[in-house]
């Protein structure tokens, strides 16, 4: 075997090594500056990211306005340690129809008594039992993404303003 033929035989291997190095560099570059925001943040794949600090939960006990009529109202108090499973529903120990006279809490909406055929049941419908599927507490955190939501009143005001012009 001559020297040139040996070089020719090794060439594909060398090219493969160079390509792998470039690809590896690209992967490294990607892991340090992700183009897509993820919950992991910019941490490398083999490292643990820094978890965000747990925010303070709002405890004002004042109802927040709803952004739109169908919005599930937010929870204006802490719910840490509240049991919500098949054994018990601590939310309902204040918000159930029979409990609100004593607790002073707002009663769950009548829509929660309806089954999916629109029939009213005597008590909360099983499909509405797990409150925190829709109702959530609020924490003081910077918004994760920009939000340009406009509520219907503001929108109508703008539209009617235009109509008058």
């Amino acid at each position: 075997m001559t020297r040139t033929s040996a070089f020719a035989a090794l060439l594909p291997v060398a090219v493969a090594i160079v390509l792998a190095a470039v690809a590896g560099g690209a992967v490294l570059a990607q892991s340090t500056t992700p183009s897509i925001a993820t919950l992991r943040g910019a941490a490398a794949l083999d490292a643990n990211g820094e978890p965000p600090r747990i925010p303070q939960t709002e405890e004002t006990d004042r109802r927040r306005p709803r952004a739109y009529p169908e919005q599930p109202p937010t929870i204006p108090h802490r719910i840490d340690g509240y049991q919500l499973d098949k054994n018990g529903n601590q939310c309902l120990s204040c918000h159930a129809r029979a409990r609100v006279a004593e607790s002073g809490a707002p009663m769950i909406s009548v829509t929660h008594f309806m089954d999916r055929d629109g029939q009213f049941l005597a008590t909360v419908s099983p499909r509405r039992y797990f409150c925190n599927q829709c109702h959530v507490v609020q924490g003081r955190v910077p918004p994760a993404v920009d939000n340009n939501f406009v509520d219907i009143d503001s929108l109508l005001a703008v539209e009617s303003g235009r109509g008058r012009q």
């Binding site: 006990d61 049991q83 002073g104």
Partner: protein, 199 residues
């Protein structure tokens, strides 16, 4: 039987006679020392059973209720003050404590005969067990809660409006006691269907 009676009679005769060989001082000091040792030993043993380590030395406690406690504010919180099992489940006053300890002999029976030695058995019996504790705390006006929490020293202005209103309306007026509202704060609740306030 006759021999036994004779033995008892002889023992009684010895007990009622003045000591022939021991001095009064030896008897008095010896009796005092023995008293200190026995009483101290009794109390030490009693206190040893009044620790969390003792409670969770049985798997019934360690694997069920203790694991649940670890998630709650009574185990880990911002100030680092925590409650151990006996803080809530054993009265602190001596007579009440002894009464509870005598009751607890049934729990020794339970652990020997495996009344709740599996998770399934425990869950099946959980409502009964919880009802015992609710009844106990209800009847002593939540004494064990009040060993640490006192409405006299509660600063309602530093509580959430919801808590402040409820405490002033029901706790201060004596209409309700802690356990009436605060069930399941240190352990998971059993099936609450039919329990007052949980319909």
């Amino acid at each position: 039987m006759k021999q036994l009676m004779a033995l008892v009679a002889r023992f009684w005769a010895t007990l009622t006679r003045p000591a022939a060989h021991l001095s009064l001082g030896a008897l008095a000091i010896g009796g005092f020392a023995a008293g200190v040792i026995f009483w101290g030993g009794f109390n030490t043993a009693l206190e040893a059973t009044n620790t969390e380590t003792f409670c969770i030395s049985c798997h019934e406690m360690r694997d069920n209720v203790y694991q649940e406690l670890r998630q709650t504010v009574h185990f880990t919180n911002n100030s680092g003050v925590r409650a151990t099992c006996p803080d809530c489940h054993v009265p602190h006053d001596w007579t009440d404590k002894i009464a509870r300890k005598m009751q607890a002999s049934k729990e020794v029976w339970g652990t020997i005969f495996g009344t709740i030695d599996t998770r399934e058995k425990f869950l099946a019996k959980r409502l009964d067990l919880a009802k015992h504790e609710w009844a106990r705390l209800k009847s002593n006006d939540s004494l064990e809660c009040r060993n640490c929490h006192s409405e006299e020293y509660m600063d309602f202005s530093r509580q959430g409006p919801r808590a402040a209103d409820a405490h002033q309306a029901f706790l201060v007026t004596g209409q309700k006691t802690c356990i009436d509202c605060h069930k399941g704060i240190a352990h998971d609740l059993p099936n609450m269907a039919g329990v007052e306030g949980w319909n």
